[in-house]
């Protein structure tokens, strides 16, 4: 028997997560991932006006709020028969894109960077850059005042931590700069039609609510330029410097710490005018890039064997009731275990970039990086850069469309609730594949379901005992000091966990899904 250690809470994530691992000879031998909070949104939504769903489900998560609204309106559009006009589609893309830019920046700098930096190395900075000297003064003044919260306490830096004063000081200065840039990125969404952040107000079934004024478009354009400049001149360079070949984190990448099952799933996101999507859908098993399969929603199943829900026969739970059972023997999480074709999959930026065989990611892999925690950070940066560029394109399309007569942002013919209907909506959250499903009876919600990214990634074991992706990705991670399990949080945070939304979900009766709709 190895030594069992628990990290609870895992912080700098969204939600409440507990990780337990068994360590033998300094490496993780087994792992258990537990979501430790539940609210029960499905029961709340039953009986409500279906149009409420896109507002309520935004509150699944306050970090990736708009993607829940997006998946929700996609399933409502499907159920209502709404055809979102081009203006609405483009504005939804810009709203969703703004969330991605803020979310990925905040993840790298504010949620995860502290895992890789020995922040106290700043005190040893001896260079002459005035901006970096200012950062040193700031940190030193905090130390002198005897209070460095919330930067300390912390897990102690280890052999993989970056301790070069120049690099660390630069990274900390970017941490502070990013704190300002993420506000601008978020507020882009408020300007272009979200109304405010977090929790956009302006996305509804059928389209969006705000026709942007020329002033708002101008404002958005300049904010996008500012954020894009940060992404390309700071974020991209930081990730390449740290995680690229020769970078201080490249050894972690070469070890492939945090790899897991190597199965990748993407639903695709950001619909284009020609029916394609900017992020591509697809399925890759065991990193076999020669065989990229089409995603088939009928192959999604779930298990509640190790989750705190009443035991069910392996039928699609869409027909049954969702009942919590907090006393179930053997269960250890509020998160259920979704599986695709019976297998555990990873979703998120790495999955998206693998599925579309992104050349930059492939070149990193060719250079010796293995899929894992560090590759996940690289993939996240790669898609942020691509998306920032594409948002310029969409903005151009918006300006052109808005100049033409007949410009529409909403399908007003389908605002009224149908008597009986059902619908499905799929999207890619910053954290990965997201699906919402609705059944409407007597103009009210009869059933509402969601399968969210962190349910895929954070799931417990299934009927066959197969670990979820968090659990599997921890196997083999070096933990030489059980008192200081820094590699565990590195691996888990690389997924950008988002637990609040992961714990309330069950799966669709997939054989009833006739249409497949993205955004």
């Amino acid at each position: 028997m190895g030594q069992r250690i628990t990290v609870d809470p895992v912080t700098r994530i969204e939600g409440h997560l507990k990780i337990e691992v068994e360590i033998e000879n300094g490496v993780v031998k087994d792992a258990w991932s537990s979501g430790t909070m539940a609210r029960g949104f499905e029961a709340l939504l039953t009986g409500k006006d279906p149009r409420d769903a896109s507002y309520v489900t935004s509150r699944f998560c306050g970090v990736c709020f708009s993607v829940h609204t997006m998946a929700s309106v996609a399933c409502l559009d499907d159920a209502f028969g709404a055809q979102v006009p081009d203006g609405g589609r483009i504005l939804r893309n810009l709203l969703m894109g703004s969330e991605y830019l803020y979310d990925h920046i905040i993840h790298f700098y504010h949620l995860t960077a502290l895992d890789y930096l020995d922040i106290m190395a700043v005190a040893s900075y001896n260079g002459n850059d005035p901006a970096l000297k200012a950062v040193k003064d700031k940190i030193v003044s905090l130390v002198k005042r005897g209070d460095t919260s919330p930067l300390t306490p912390r897990y102690e830096p280890d052999a993989f931590s970056v301790a070069d004063p120049e690099i660390v000081t630069m990274a900390v200065s970017h941490y502070l700069e990013a704190l300002k840039v993420q506000v601008t990125a978020k507020n882009m969404g408020a300007v272009i039609g979200g109304g405010r952040v977090p929790h956009y107000q302006g996305i509804v079934v059928g389209g969006v609510t705000q026709i942007p004024s020329p002033e708002q478009i101008g404002r958005f354009k300049s904010m996008l330029a500012e954020v894009t400049s940060f992404i390309k001149n700071v974020y991209m360079k930081d990730v390449l410097l740290l995680a690229g070949p020769g970078g201080p984190l490249f050894p972690l990448a070469q070890l492939g710490v945090g790899g897991g099952h190597l199965n990748y799933l993407s639903y695709g996101a950001f619909p284009e005018g020609d029916g394609s999507t900017f992020f591509k859908p697809g399925v890759v098993r065991n990193l076999d890039l020669n065989n990229i399969e089409e995603f088939d929603p009928a192959k999604v199943t779930e298990s509640v064997k190790y989750a705190w829900y009443k035991e069910k026969e392996p039928v699609h739970p869409y027909d049954g009731e969702q009942k919590f059972d907090r006393d179930k023997a053997g269960a250890y999480s509020f998160v259920k275990a979704p599986r695709y074709d019976g297998m555990a999959f990873e979703v998120g930026p790495l999955a998206r970039m693998v599925v579309e065989k992104n050349p930059t990611l492939l070149s990193l892999i060719k250079a010796g990086a293995k899929p894992g925690a560090v590759a996940r950070h690289a993939a996240r940066m790669i898609e942020t850069v691509a998306l920032a560029d594409q948002m310029q394109v969409w903005l151009g399309q918006l300006i052109e469309a808005q100049g033409k007569p007949g410009f529409k942002i909403h399908d007003s013919e389908h605002w009224d609730v149908p008597d009986t209907a059902e619908g499905a909506g799929f999207y890619e959250a910053p954290r990965g594949a997201l699906g919402h499903w609705i059944k409407i009876k007597n103009k009210k919600i009869a059933n509402y379901q969601a399968v969210v990214p962190s349910t895929w990634n954070a799931s417990p074991r299934d009927e066959k005992g197969v670990r979820g992706q968090y659990e599997e990705s921890l196997i083999g991670a070096p933990v030489p000091d059980p008192e200081n399990p820094i590699n565990i949080v590195r691996v888990i945070r690389s997924f950008d966990p988002c637990l609040a939304c992961a714990v309330h979900v069950i799966d669709p009766k997939t054989n009833q899904i006739r249409k497949f709709r993205i955004g």
Binding site: T6, V10, T11, R12, A43, C61, G62, R196, C501
Partner: protein, 354 residues
Amino acid sequence: MTSFRNINRRDFLKFCAGTASILGLSEAAVPRIAKALEGAAKKPPVIWLEGQDCAGCSISFINSSNPGTAELVLDTISLRYHETLMAASGHVAEKALEDTIEEGGYVLIVEGSIPTIDPRFCQIGGKNFVDIVNEASAKAAAVIAIGACATYGGIPGDCPTPGTGIGVGEAMDKGLVAKNALINVPTCPVHPERLIGTIVYYLLYGKPPAMDKVGRPVVFYDKLIHDNCERRGHFENGEFLTDWNIFEQRNWCMYLKGCKGPFTYSDCPKRRWSDGLNWCIGCSSVCQGCAEPDFYAGMSPLYERTKEIRGIKVEKIGAYATGAVAVGLAGHFIGQAMTGRLGKGGPPEEGGDN
């Protein structure tokens, strides 16, 4: 470096000025705020607990440019525990919490509701959330509940499951959480300026600001949204948005689409959101009443016209109600509503094509 100190000082004074403006204080108060915040022998400790939350209030908290969040977090307060922001995890994080509670005298901020039917529906570090809040409240100088969930239960408060959540005030009333001075700063999510303003007010005066009967600071929540809405003139003119595509209607009243502004007290029309760039009604969506204890279930259906909540009737609000014009037009409204034109005198008596 001198230059940095200057910049730092400038940021700090900007922070103080921004806070003064939030609290409705004049510029003359800025030096006093600066002195009070700088003069403290040590930064006042703050514990931020998250229960049944979505972290939206945390994300909103870091969405303020003036006053800026970085100045608050690094220079003004000592943020000892905040799951979403702190460096520490696991036992290191839990020890920081225990040590701060032991020390006492901190400001406790609570985000998210508290499950009580089965308290195991929110556990952190192996402990039930309700027990953590109880322990932390007992030794806090004051408690600030933020967002719809921690104040009045919010959306989790309406979830009919064993996980149903309640707000901090209700938990105190039920004897589940130690009683303490409680300030409620609702909306979903909390407005960063209202939160920072409340914190700084407490640090300045050592007591909660004047509050209304549901525990909200009067300075932020004493005005009806409908009375101060930039679209009020259109309401008075009977101009209601009925189709989001019609350019002419883009700034018209949102009442027929379900706006809860007539039933909601908050300074949103003036303060707006996201650094003042926009707000819920500004983007031609509707107010969903998230500042009120009735939110969410009491405000649903969100996108249906609502005539009355808590005895507040739309018919009785506004100057038009005294005239006979509204009644006179009632029979004609359906045809007119197709184009959004309802004539002068506010909304029709009943129905609508919303």
